[in-house]
Amino acid sequence: MTTALPTSTDKQAAPSPWAVETHGLTKRFGENVAVNGVELLVPRGCAFGYLGPNGAGKTTLIRVLLGLTHADAGTMSLLGHPVPRHRDKALARVGAIVDEPRFHGHLTGRQNLQILAAAREREARDRIGPSLERVGILHRADDKVSKYSMGMRQRLGVAACLIGNPQLLILDEPMNGLDPAGMQDMREMILSLVAEGRTVVLSSHLLDEVERTCDAVAIVDRGSVVRQGPISELLAGTSLVLEVECSDPDRARALIAATAIGAADGASVTANPTGLGVSLPAGTGQDVIAEINRVLVEGRISVYRLQVLQASLESWFLQVTSRLGESQ
């Protein structure tokens, strides 16, 4: 993997093209290395997914980035400001939800935001109402937070981010506790924030949501970033899956395996009760699919359905992480 680093060495003089930039970032908890030499580059103005299995170190990296805990090694910058040296400048334009958003339960949503606005610039107070309206809880703004559902707290967490008019939003599992309609709203809001030129870093285990929302992703496993880049580029390198529904799956499997297609590197054929699953190498063309159909028909096997399945982020994620698991 190669990364195009910004050429400027003076981060203060010229704005960095990266919203988040880390080099060799490491965080240990005793013997456990939660974040292991992470090299992460998040371009400005995009939705960036940060994916990883449970315990991969996603939240720890976010906590380090935000100064909630200190790093043991490495360098990082947010919006071009080196952290922790210029932490106050960097965080002035950052909004974040880390873990489950929790607030003072005895205060209303609006009062909680007033506390946070007081810690920000004066204009933040004027943004409380619009932020609450944008996340759809303005009508409950004067209710105590202890009466809020989990989903409403998530929305309040996003509103807390928005009062700072952030250029960078770091959202840790923002879909947690949201119903399908709420997830749809959140997705639309993230996209609208990106459309406004903001950068959104979305940490999630909901791969489908990330795929729908984000332009680029980084996959983290065991504290290290193992892949990162635009989703389209990452998926372009994945295998193609052909699903075949036919009258005699076992014989069909044997027929395909006997051809040059079945014997090619990266190809595999698996039988299932309704048909076959044919995995083909990345870059396989349409003619190969036609050839498979021809072989089956000439072998007097009735083909009921032949469908190319688009490689998804989920299948790619599982592929990457399972391969890692095998290697270790």
Binding site: L41, P43, C46, L107, G229, E233
Partner: protein, 408 residues
Amino acid sequence: MTIRPSAVGSAPAPVLLGEPVGVTPDHRGSWIPSGALIATRFMELRKRRGLMVTLTLVTVGIPTVFMVIRLLLHAFAPKSYGPAGGYDIYTALISGVLYVFGFIVAATLGATAGSADLTEGMFRHLVVTGRSRLALYMARIPAGLAIILPLVAVGFTVVCAVCVFAAPTQLQFNGVNVPANLSSAGLEAWAADHADEVICNFGIRIGPSTPNGSTIGAVVNNVLCGNGPGGGPAIVKQPPGSQGQPLPSQPSQVQITEAARLIATMNYADYARQFLYPSNSLMIKSGLWLELEAVIGFIVGLGLGSLIGQRTVAVVLMIVLEVVLTPILSRVRIAHLSNLQRAVVGLATAHLAPGGLPVFGGGGGGPGGGGGNPALLPESTTVAVCVIVAWLVCWSVLGAWRMMTRDA
């Protein structure tokens, strides 16, 4: 694989924003808290209904209920129950109730202010704003003091009001009802009119150097004191020829009066320290002393709460310090540890108690108050002030340090 900032999917062209235009500089990295930060901290504490009710009940409710009960008892059974107010009640309430409870409630508020953000998950949101953690800590001090100081003041005002307005109308001095606030001459004149009671009740110590000792002795040694009409001792007159042995030389009324005047003069110094109600000076001094105690309780509670990150443990520790350790360490004299004992903040504040206030439930304050209380471990005022300042600074530094280094 290459990541370029301008080539990520369908994202719009990157917006390279510098510092936003039109945003007021907010000195976010400064350790000095802004007014808005303090105001919202105040609101956060004030809105804790359970805590505020408890604080109010303890600082205002307890003395108020105590006073109301005494007022009612005195109103319905004046012979059995004395007046609700007065100097003695004042000193008992100030040094026995408000002093101890004021410290505890202030410590409770401080521990809450020091730990609530952490336990309720708000600390993380605040840190993410980029605001200096030290400023976040410092904002709690004026916010908390703005709550606890008025509360203590209200409780103290209730005590003062009742003690002044429901004070006894006559002073009990050596078991005799004496008008209060008499001058030396006034007391002599009163003594002349109440010679029997003075001679038989007032303290008399006649030594070789006692002025007019022979005059007083001639009278005192030649009168018999029995139960007077008011229940107290009074001179029993024995006319010549009556039953019993007549006294060898019964003093004349003039001698008795003169002796009473002299005895009154001898007792004036003690009498002058007896009051119907607390003086303005004492009330001002003890009010400030109580507020000092509340400030200490709050600052120490804040530091401890922030250090531990938990309210309950911090409050329990503060109660143990105030109710158990301080009284013991202030009275027990442990060889080789006396300097360590002097470092207890409760002892230091006891030594700063205004004159006339007994501390730690006994001993009588005397002119020096806590400082003059012989039961307390001796400590100079300078040392006491240094101990208090050291406690305030140390706990503030510890609390702030923990807040600045804690994982959020």
